[in-house]
Symmetry: C2
Subunit: 274 residues, 2 copies
């Protein structure tokens, strides 16, 4: 977590030990727009989630899309239409302000990155919070499975695959996966550990030969940064939260808001509960 | 399963060994309207589900209701609006015909019980299939946990509780639970076994003192039939699929169709996959 600590030191608005700071204290800081960086390493043991805000007319189709593709799109919370309080995910969570940074997409293209969406949220908005891999990475580390990208201070490599999503209305596309190199022994333990986290992508979708899931060059990820393999290590692939983000962008919705990558909602739900 | 075998013998339209018969063969029989009884004991190892068909205008709220109350309302499949083929749950499943018997509710009251809903399904209909306890009961029996209500040939006792559901739009009410008496040792094993089945109600919601969850008289279930306790047995309570059915009835939707209790959709999904 060396990267996170150095970022933390750059910003004296954050408490010293972000891993032990409770979610509500951090959300209160984010609500002031003072911090717009990553939430990695914050509030150990609490579920973090990706955000997607869309007009209600798309919400039923998106809800079905997530139900049909639960490994890449595990819903952990949905707002009532027009109500920005995510009351099922914690006390006093205002989805318009409590994430450090938001990406605004218009007609599928990134329009701007902003610290709150007070002016964009309206009576027709529905917010979806989707599980992310931060929780299962914490469980892997606690289980003694090392994570190369964290050791190298890099973003996990992510790849487009040939695994088609099950469609729902305008939402389709294919699964995006994240990849972590590890020994075969660790890949077995990692499978068992992550199987207990169905709301944060669950078990791996593939282990070994990248070409079997349509990945041509493992050294060239489509998102994130390349990583390094040691001798006798295999690539282990998990469904990734970029999958629903791609599906949403490709659906051609006039206005969608997501979190800025790495800058998540920290909920009050313990990872072991969800 | 003595009760099921006797029912089977009464109906020579069914294959001799219903437990080993594949779901598609049984659904083909149901499609002819020839059999309108229970699906208990059929297609061992395959997920069975409860049905709720409603107009699209209620579907987003109901979808959120299920997401917020996953123990009592685990969604295993949702149709596209107006498309009766449940393509995520198997080959050629027509939700209008492939369940033995349907209950039609108008304005919250049971209007009629019919063998198919060809005339009621329309371009605005959305079908939800929700996990039921048949799958986890099979796992309990295989794990060596005896089930008293089955031994007695009775319907499992069910009770209204004081555990409030998390609301969504017109859907609310309180959790309904089913109860199985067992030794403390078996209750521990049953908890571990059912924890592996989150899509069929998962772990117990309560063990022991019924009054703690608002049940005044354990000998007087609100649905199903009373059961019997042996010495030193405790009541073990699971969230029950009657919960969403009550919530739907109380929501005052003009027209809703459900399965007739006990007469479920048999999907092509293995219980261990879901």
């Amino acid at each position: 977590m060396a990267l996170m600590e150095s970022e933390e030191l750059d910003n004296d608005l954050l408490p010293y030990d972000i891993g032990k700071t409770s979610p509500d204290i951090l959300r209160d800081i984010f609500r002031t727009d003072a911090y717009q960086g990553t939430t990695a390493g914050m509030s150990d043991g609490y579920t973090q989630g990706n955000l997607a805000v869309m007009p209600e007319s798309y919400a039923l189709d998106f809800s079905r899309f997530c139900q049909r593709n639960p490994k890449s799109c595990p819903i952990v919370g949905v707002s009532d239409t027009g109500n920005p309080l995510m009351f099922t995910l914690g006390q006093n969570i205002d989805i318009r302000t409590d994430i450090p940074s938001y990406n605004v997409y218009r007609d599928g293209s990134l329009d701007c990155t902003i610290p709150n969406i007070r002016d964009l949220w309206n009576t027709d908005s529905v917010a979806f919070v989707i599980g992310c891999s931060f929780s299962f990475e914490e469980a892997l580390l606690q289980g003694g499975v090392p994570l190369r990208h964290q050791e190298l201070g890099r973003i996990v490599p992510m790849y487009e695959t040939n695994i088609n999503n099950i469609k729902s209305g305008p939402f389709g596309g294919s699964m995006v996966v994240s990849m972590r190199p590890m020994s075969v022994a660790d890949s077995i333990r990692a499978s068992a550990i992550t199987a207990r986290f169905p709301h944060t992508h669950g078990m791996p979708v593939h282990i070994g030969a990248p070409e079997e899931i349509g990945i041509k060059d493992i050294s060239q990820p489509d998102w994130g940064e390349p990583t390094e393999f040691c001798d006798n290590e295999v690539p282990v692939f998990w469904a990734c939260g970029v999958t629903p983000q791609n599906a949403i962008r490709e659906a051609g919705i006039p206005l969608v808001v997501t979190h800025t990558p790495g800058s998540m909602l920290i909920t009050d739900c313990r990872s072991s509960e969800v």
